[in-house]
């Protein structure tokens, strides 16, 4: 017999105070969940306000505990068990919950039944996706007018401003010198100091503006809006990866066009017909007003169900042709619940012509969630090809 008591705490910690195996394995579980969730990400983004807010760059995703699978028998129609307490044959202990298939009695107390909320950084998600899907990065537009002077670090000097002292390099120099000089050496001399130097370089500008054009005519139902929103979101995230300052413009249109704040943008509902030229005109106006083409990389995304008034055809084409030269890329997302007639609509033809005329444009047909990723991928691939 022996009894080791708890005095050990005073003399020093025991090994099990040093780390918790439970925590370690729990964290590993969470890591695995993150990996699994990453695969399902495109479907998980639903809130409109995750689009632009810079300080709200996380998404919260409810996840269930992962199950470590084992062989298990099928759930029987009826399961027998033993219980204990004051009960007579025929007593109803728990009422049924109707026909619902999912209800499996009180089986909810298994680990698999618990869920919790995990927070994901949008940037992490994007890094992961870009790597996973091997998407190319966007290229800034070539051409001198889109370049700005910038200072970059290059080289070292023995003199310089205090703030640019390179400590690591200085210590390296000191180590080298002391190795040669031997025991008598002083720790650091002025000769050891190294300062980073700056040179002026012309850099491609890192400003971008993204115009989101949305058809809000009555034919655009919730399904279409959701597709458009998701497509916009991911397109914007991809652009954000490349440019430091990204500004957004939200334009909704029916036969007229209005600019909106993001919050209202996806809630807007219009009545009546569709004239897409109005939106293109509005974009041109705003671009002329606020976004100097020599300082901004510009992108346009237009989402519509494709219907447009016939009589608007010429005006729309003219407006697009006017818009195109100042854009890095024009993307058209045709959202509809229909599978047939893809990109064969008024707007579809409009963008096809535009592309044929040599403008950097692309069209994507979205009829359900599964179309979004291929579209995003196509957009980034085409855009990279255009910029070559």
């Amino acid at each position: 017999m022996s009894l080791s008591d708890d005095l050990a705490g005073e003399h020093g910690n025991r090994w099990y105070d040093l780390f918790s195996r439970g925590t370690r394995d729990w964290l590993r579980h969470n890591e695995k969940i993150r990996e699994a969730v990453n695969d399902a990400l495109p479907d998980l983004i639903a809130h409109s306000d995750v689009l632009t807010r810079p300080d709200n760059r996380t998404v919260q995703v409810p996840v269930r505990f992962m199950e470590h699978f084992r062989f298990r028998l099928l759930n029987p129609q009826q399961q027998k068990g033993a219980g204990q307490g004051q009960a007579e044959p025929g007593d109803l202990l728990k009422p049924g919950q109707g026909q619902s298939e999912g209800a499996q009695g009180s089986g909810g107390n298994e680990e698999g039944g618990m869920s919790f909320v995990m927070e994901f950084k949008v940037d992490d998600i994007l890094d992961y996706l870009w790597e996973e899907l091997q998407l190319p990065n966007l290229k800034p537009r070539e051409g001198t007018q889109l370049e700005e002077d910038d200072y970059v670090r290059e080289g070292w000097d023995k003199k310089g401003a205090r703030s640019r002292l390179d400590r690591r390099r200085t210590i390296k120099e000191a180590v080298k010198r002391r190795a040669v000089q031997g025991a008598a050496a002083v720790p650091i001399t002025n000769d050891d100091l190294r300062f980073r130097q700056l040179v002026k370089r012309r850099q491609p500008t890192t400003n971008a503006v993204v115009f989101f054009l949305l058809d809000v005519s009555s034919s655009m139902d919730d399904h279409c809006r959701k597709l458009a929103k998701t497509f916009f979101f991911w397109a914007l995230q991809g652009i954000r990866r490349q440019f430091v300052n990204v500004e957004t413009v939200f334009i909704a249109h029916t036969i007229e066009a209005w600019e909106f704040q993001e919050e209202q943008f996806f809630q807007v509902r219009g009545e009546g017909g569709t004239q897409s030229s109005s939106a293109f005109q509005k974009a041109i106006e705003i671009a002329n007003d606020r976004y100097d083409p020599s300082r901004y990389n510009s992108y346009v995304f237009y989402a519509s169900d494709g219907d447009n008034f016939m009589e608007d055809r010429h005006r729309a084409r003219a407006a697009l042709e006017q818009l195109a030269p100042r854009m890095n890329f024009l993307g058209y997302a045709e959202v509809s619940g229909r599978h047939h007639q893809r990109l064969n609509t008024e707007c579809g033809v409009l963008f096809k012509r535009l592309k044929e005329s040599g403008a950097p444009a692309g069209s994507y047909a979205l009829s359900n969630e599964n179309d979004i990723w291929p579209a995003i991928k196509a957009f980034f691939t085409e855009q990279a090809a255009e910029a070559e």
Partner: protein, 453 residues
């Protein structure tokens, strides 16, 4: 010398005088967080795996909500290792010491425990720590992902062992070669043998008969994969065998839970009752804890849809000792496991006294008490313990292309496997086996179904 230390010595002396017979016990006082981990992992130091993390957080939540409380854990061996919670009261720990002695007596005398300890060694705590260490080394060499893939498979098959075989089990014996029957030399054969070229062929040995692996369906999946996996690396086999060794240890704990907990509860009640050296106040408090532990249902609930093994075991042992005497009860303790214990000694009178009943749960959540006889009650209690709590899945064939063919014995189990889960398990196994893996079972309509990975 602390008070508890003093009590430990006296309670032990009392226990020995009452006929308890066990290897020495090492008591250690540990913080509750450590207890919780031991309860989750089943062993103080065990291999890392994310699934333990899930159980751990679940236990933490339960604990925080006050639904569960752990008093002690004891590991059989020589010496036994017992852990007590350092912030439990003296009363509680005095009770726990007596409880632990009951476990120590049980694990030293019960035949299943004896066998598993002979097989897995008397130092399972140290063995498991060594496994964990070797797995850490494997992580260093092969990386976390690969080791995790192996553990996913091995731990998923944790219950699929065969304790009727030895832990150190040799490969299947090679098939006996049938001596080729002497052919009668008749005219045709002698003339045929004289043909040019025939002489050399006759001298050649006959091809050995095909060895079917396994010769008969094999229940020990962990062993089979470790020994016959066509492309496993040594460290991977090692992990399978480590998991298997721990399962050999866990199986009797699982199979004797009602007996073992009941026996320990019986002894803590009896020893404390007879410990006249305990202050009466301490005795009363300890007894209060006792009645909390062995009560049939939690809190104010009047009915539980589960049977508390402490309560059931305790009452059967009380009944047995009262009816047949301690010596006969000790004999039962040595020879039975829960199956025999319940079937043979849970009498209709006792079942009525304990208000045990059988219920039927429908898929829609309706739970109704059924009119049942004692045999149905026995089976309802035992059913979850059958085959280590797992469906019977056997290795049927190892094909010459390396395909592993598993077969679910659905006739014994009464119904087929949950095919989604089974599919995921096959995927785990396939990653380690590296050749096709197949599983035959039946679907919900009873028609044969073949899953592949």
């Amino acid at each position: 010398m602390s008070k508890l230390q003093d009590y430990v010595e006296r309670i032990e002396a009392l226990g020995r005088a009452q006929g308890l017979d066990y290897y020495p016990v090492d008591f250690e006082l540990v913080p509750p967080s450590f207890m919780m981990e031991v309860a989750v992992y089943g062993l103080p130091v065990r291999m890392p795996h994310w699934s333990f993390g899930v159980r751990w957080i679940y236990q933490m939540v339960q604990h925080k909500m006050g639904h569960s409380r752990i008093f002690e854990v004891v590991f059989p061996g020589n010496p036994n290792r017992a852990y007590l919670v350092n912030n439990n009261s003296l009363e509680e720990n005095a009770l726990v010491v007596a409880h632990v002695l009951g476990h120590a007596d049980f694990s030293h005398n019960n035949l299943l425990f004896q066998r598993s300890q002979r097989e897995a060694g008397f130092h399972i705590v140290e063995q498991a720590a060594a496994h964990a260490h070797r797995i850490d080394e494997a992580v260093e060499i092969a990386g976390q992902r690969r080791v995790e893939a192996v553990l996913d498979a091995a731990l998923a098959l944790e219950q699929h062992i065969d304790t009727h075989q030895h832990l150190n089990r040799p490969d299947y014996p090679p098939p006996k070669r049938q001596a080729p029957a002497e052919r009668p030399v008749d005219g045709f054969h002698s003339r045929f043998g004289a043909l040019p070229g025939e002489a050399s062929r006759r001298g050649r040995p006959e091809a050995p008969p095909e060895l079917k692996i396994p010769p008969q369906p094999e229940a020990d999946l962990l062993w089979f994969i470790a020994h016959y996996g066509p492309a496993l690396e040594d460290w991977e086999r090692d992990i399978f065998l480590a998991v298997r060794e721990e399962s050999f240890y866990f199986q009797p704990v699982f199979n004797c839970q009602i007996m073992n907990e009941g026996w320990a509860s019986y002894w803590h009640a009896r020893l404390l009752r007879e410990a006249d050296f305990l202050p009466s106040e301490l005795y009363l408090n300890a007894m209060k804890t006792h009645s909390d532990v062995v009560r049939p249902h939690a809190g104010d609930k009047q009915v539980a849809l589960a049977v508390n093994p402490y309560h059931l075991g305790f009452n059967i042992w009380e009944y047995l000792v009262r009816e047949v005497g301690l010596d006969k009860a000790r004999q039962v303790m040595k020879e039975e496991d829960d199956t025999g214990f319940i079937r043979n000694y849970l009498t209709p009178e006792l079942a009525r006294e304990l208000n045990l009943f059988v219920y039927e749960a429908k898929r829609d959540g309706e739970v109704r008490v059924t009119d049942s006889n004692i045999h149905e009650l026995h089976e309802a209690i035992i059913a979850p313990k059958y085959n280590f709590g797992a469906p019977r899945v056997l290795v049927d064939d190892l094909r010459s292309d390396g395909t592993l063919v598993l077969r679910h014995d659905y006739k014994t189990d009464g119904r087929g496997l949950d095919s989604q889960r089974a599919q995921r398990v096959l995927e785990y196994v396939h990653r380690v086996w590296r050749r096709p893996v197949m599983l035959y079972t039946v679907d919900a309509r009873g028609e044969e179904e073949c899953l592949r990975a």
